[in-house]
Amino acid sequence: MKSEQQMVSMRGLEKSYGGVHVLQGIDLDVAPGEKLSVIGPSGSGKSTLLRILMTLEQPTKGFIEIEGEPLWDMRLNGRAIPADSKHLRRMRSKVGMVFQHFNLFPHMTVLRNVTSAPIHVLRISRDEAEARAHELLDKVGLGAKVDAYPSQLSGGQKQRVAIARALAMYPKIMLFDEVTSALDPELVGEVLGVLRELAHRTDMTMILVTHEIRFAREISDRVVFIDHGQIVEQGPPERIFAEPTETRTREFLKSILEA
């Protein structure tokens, strides 16, 4: 019984590589505008979940809907058939992603990293794309770096450019895949600052896979703990972090807070 349309809805999602079951039946709904943090040990399948949502990987089994529309299938004469590239591109336009290792385009300036997809994919004019890029880069504190190349930036700056690049596509859902894990400790703060702004100031749906427990607690509406490809426990951050009911959650939080 859904009173309102979910932004993302997954049922029985499974993914295996060879004989390894990375995801073993995930049921998860994400409401529009919700800020959801996914935590769990490395190898628990958190990143795979995001990669399937971004259509970088195909689920082995199960069902995902974005705004009520199946992601990996499309309906034809009432039957579900595998999505064609046109369908996938339409669905992808709703989703953006920021990667652990930034994945900036090294041969483009910061400005072109941010404008190339809006110009070529959204087909907005160069002037408009650049105006919007300047605005976004100002917002992430990199207005002065528009003409730099990625190799001239620090990790924290690269990640902020990557966030601006993803935002320039107006996604409804933003996926953040351990976006601070590859950063030197002193650079984590500047990226979290940008994420905090986004979480508080926008109504974008955000799904973050993260190891930053304190940060997850601060900005999330809900936290999901995944282990061995299954959701072990979920709930509001105050409860999950203060009084987890499952032993596995307790052990994970203990291990990560002691580290």
């Binding site: 992808r92 994945n103 385009f105 090294p106 041969h107 190339s116 190349y149 190799s151 596509m169």
Partner: protein, 219 residues
């Protein structure tokens, strides 16, 4: 005969060699891109055609290819001038190796780049031309430079299909002067000089591209 007189009589031959190198390179670069991208196509027929081309021209002797185009093709009703034959065969032969350079450089670009392009909702074509190819270009340059030199050296083969290139002129000059050591020595020096000039050119191009991205020399 004086040293300079020797050089002078080789100049005409040098012009033919340079013309063959330039023409052959253009054909080779065109074919390398077509076949290299063809091998990565989603269409099976395109992939297979490109693969057959590459294997045939890599797998057979350049000299025999030249003979076939020069002596056999006219028997099948296709007549090409010796110069065109030289340009076409050199282009076909080096283009086959070049196709592998193009393909190799493209597949060497990490999947992270393709994934970023997918996340920005680019089409396959946009992923290739906006993201992958510009980066692959830098990795193509060093091996492409090697192939360019291979092509330049292989131009000497056309002396065997009546073209009076540098080598052909050298042979005549040797017969006239009987100064084998000097004439062939000079030939070696001239080929070496052209090769060095090509290397300098390719390096400069590499530095320009890499320098622009502040990436240092590609490895």
């Amino acid at each position: 005969m004086s040293f300079f007189a020797l050089c002078w009589s080789l100049l005409d031959g040098l012009a033919v060699t340079l013309l063959l190198t330039a023409g052959g390179s253009l054909v080779a670069i065109g074919l390398a891109w077509i076949a290299g991208l063809g091998r990565l196509s989603t269409h099976r027929v395109v992939r297979a055609t490109a693969a057959v081309y590459v294997e045939v021209f890599r797998g057979t002797s350049a000299l025999v290819q030249l003979y076939w185009f020069f002596y056999a093709l006219p028997l099948l009703g296709v007549h090409l001038s010796p110069l065109v034959t030289g340009v076409v065969v050199l282009g076909l032969n080096i283009g086959a190796y070049g196709a592998e350079v193009v393909r190799g450089a493209i597949v060497s670009i990490g999947s992270d780049q393709r994934e970023a392009a997918v996340a920005l909702n680019m089409t396959r074509r946009q992923q290739l031309w906006l993201v992958i190819v510009p980066q692959a270009l830098l990795r193509m340059l060093p091996p492409a430079g090697n192939l360019l030199i291979e092509l330049m050296k292989a131009t000497a083969l056309v002396s065997l299909i009546t073209l009076s290139d540098l080598t052909f002129r050298g042979m005549i000059l040797r017969a006239e002067t009987l100064d084998t050591v000097q004439v062939f020595g000079l030939l070696l020096l001239i080929y070496f000089g052209i090769g060095q000039a090509l290397i300098v050119g390719v390096r400069a191009l590499e530095r320009r591209v890499a320098g622009r991205w502040h990436m240092g020399r590609a490895t």
